[in-house]
Amino acid sequence: MYTLTIVLFIALPILTIVVKLFDGPGEMWDHVVTYLMATYVTNSLFLIVGCTFLTFVLGVFSSWFVTRFHFPFRKILEWLLILPLAIPSYITAYAYAGIFDHSGSLQILFKTIHIQFPRIDVMNPVGLIVVLSLSLFPYVYVSARAVFLHQSRTLMETSVLLGASESRTFFRVVLPLARPAIVGGLVLVLMEVLNDYGAAKYYGVSTFTTGIFRSWFALEEPETAIFLSAILVTLIFGLIAIEKWQRRKIGYVDGVKSSKTITRITLKGFNKYLVCCLVSIPAFFGFVLPVMQLIYWAFLTFNSVFNTEFFGIAFQSLGIALVTALLTTTTAFFFIYFVKWNKLRSVRFISKITTIGYAIPGAVIAIGIMIPTLALDKYLIVFFKSNFDISISLLINGTIVALVYAYIVRFLAVAYNPIEASSLKIGNHLSESSKLLGITAFKTLLKIELPLLKTGFLSAFILVFVDVMKELPLTLILKPYKVQTLAVKAYEYASDELIAESALPSLFIIFAGVFFVLILNRIIRK
């Protein structure tokens, strides 16, 4: 019963989509299938293939270089390579559109030094692949680096002693052993690619997610949006299934971690500068350059954008992110301890259910929540009118409640994982000892477990906070009319061709992200 409640809470959006599928497609479905579907499928698959290749190259090689070699600025670069995660991909997309525009920064620069340089058009599927990859490669970088850092030194030394070169050792030993982690990182990239709305919309590339918005808002046909959502979710679950399958297939790799981890080689001469330059490329183009462009724009538009309205939006954005982060971490904690205390057998099942939300694109979650909450609101309006003759307005839909609920569903996995990891690290012996000493379960939780879970809690809180600050598609659909977030404001400016004005709200999101990621790093190191 309890398990069912938890499942319903999280899986409601998906169940809604599944149930609504039985209503059949809308009138525009044939039009979508005939004229648009091929473009959605082609573009989405093209993005998947392109981003997989490019994020793999950028993420894997940069992580290998910073893990394996000593070279100038390695420590700074090791950090900079994570920071593109602090920039939402749609903001990176705006920055690059501005850099390569007719009257963009690049053209201004070349004109200043009197050089004729042909304009590079990035507003196409290839440009979108490059921009999304520059923004998302840190998912692969972080996953691969974690494995490389713990790679067994003896395996590598054995390979060298058996006559293999550094590159052969990398391709035949290191890379195959890191495959599960790298594929895990790539799956996260692909989920983000399929979730993206802002960048694809701005670059004029039609994907499943832009199709969902178009069907819902432009064609005003929710049924078609639901059918597209169903296809998108099937595609994502297909990707997850492939990832699980390949993980099972190479289960023999488990337990490779060694206490003797690899030692860094100090590069000398030309090689150290070459590697430094290579590693600088993703860091520069993924973080430094877009931020420089945004800072330039922010200077140009500071007086018109930085006003009391901006303060109000920033305040609302921070408030929503803080409240959501608090509620999501509390919900995750409740789920974990509820399962633990009740010794539910369905632990693995529940932990899997919580991760569903992160796999489903924000637009799909928004639609999956909008439909049942609208039905509930309609029921409540009729109920109060007929029973108490009271006229009420919408209580859930179009309010902050539906928005925060959707955020919780989407980001529960983000909070669940660090808290669960901390909880597993503590184990059961401490709480069992406390209970054997006559302390109640609740008091044990307060005095023993909560203080020890502090790191997991803070990590979860920060990760959810940063994700909510960046979130766009879900917020666009579910946000109350009067509520505004920095992400939506940046999107609105860019959509209204006021791209320079989008810089200040974008920078605020980025700096909040960087600030909290730095804090998170400190917490983890402690």
Binding site: T158, L161, G163, A164
Partner: protein, 249 residues
């Protein structure tokens, strides 16, 4: 003829603050099996890593077959030294099959060599298994086969029996001894267990706190120890080394 000569080999860590090895000198005759015995932190593993070329030395020189491979001015690669090493955890590549592991370092006639090595370690029929499907003893024999397949001049074994249980340990001692002798290769292995040394080695080197205390045959060390530590190493066994030697061989 000597295959390995160490001359005043010195190695320190943390910029000279901690000495791992101090002025180690010895030579090893071709075809012999030598055991390096010492407690944890005595410098055994560092010595093996210096010989294999995985570490650089601070002072002194190492020569293999009269060619200096390590000194303050020379540092030959591990490949140039033609030295094979079996690590304590065997370091089998978990994603490669037994035959792929054995064939990893071979460039010509791979299949024939793999067959030959599997026959040597008595594991014919295990070609397509993965390391995780092997017992601890089988893993060790495959690690040995892989190293021997590359035809090294010198075989180094890092605590080869430390991760095995007592019964398997005694079985593997005689097996490793037989395989190495059959392959006719010179070998150095390190151990903290004196019985390992007695069971396998033709010569024993006793290390303590980075210094070489004594080198000789088991009988020489037992009958004529030059240091109280060497005496204690054998006195702990309660019965004479020659008795154990007879029983084990």
């Amino acid at each position: 003829m000597d295959i390995l000569t160490l001359n005043n080999v010195t190695k320190s860590f943390d910029n000279g603050k901690n000495f791992a090895l101090k002025e180690i000198s010895f030579s090893l005759e071709e075809g012999k099996i030598c055991a390096i015995v010492g407690e944890s932190g005595s410098g055994k593993t560092t010595l093996l890593r210096l010989i294999s070329g995985l570490e650089t030395l601070d002072y002194g020189s190492i020569a293999i077959k009269d060619t200096v491979v390590s000194s303050t001015s020379v540092m030959r690669t591990s490949l140039d030294r033609n030295v094979g090493m079996v690590f304590q955890d065997y370091a089998l590549f978990p994603h490669l099959t037994v035959s792929q592991n054995i064939g990893y370092g071979i460039k010509k006639e791979v299949e024939d060599k793999v067959k030959e090595m599997l026959q040597l370690v008595d594991l014919v029929g295990y070609e397509n298994r993965y390391p995780s499907q092997l017992s601890g003893g089988e893993q060790q024999r495959i690690a040995l086969a892989r190293t021997l397949a590359a035809s090294p001049k010198l075989l180094l074994l890092d605590e080869p029996f430390s991760s095995l249980d007592a019964s398997l340990r005694s079985q593997l001692r005689s097996e490793v001894h037989a395989i190495v002798k059959k392959a006719g290769i010179t070998a150095i292995f390190i151990t903290h267990d004196t019985i390992d040394a007695i069971a396998i080695a033709d010569e024993v080197i006793i290390l303590k706190e980075g210094r070489l205390l004594q080198k000789g045959t088991i009988e020489e060390l037992n009958s004529n120890p030059t240091d109280s530590y060497v005496t204690s190493v054998f006195s702990e066994l309660k019965i004479s080394a020659s008795t154990i030697l007879k029983a084990l061989r």
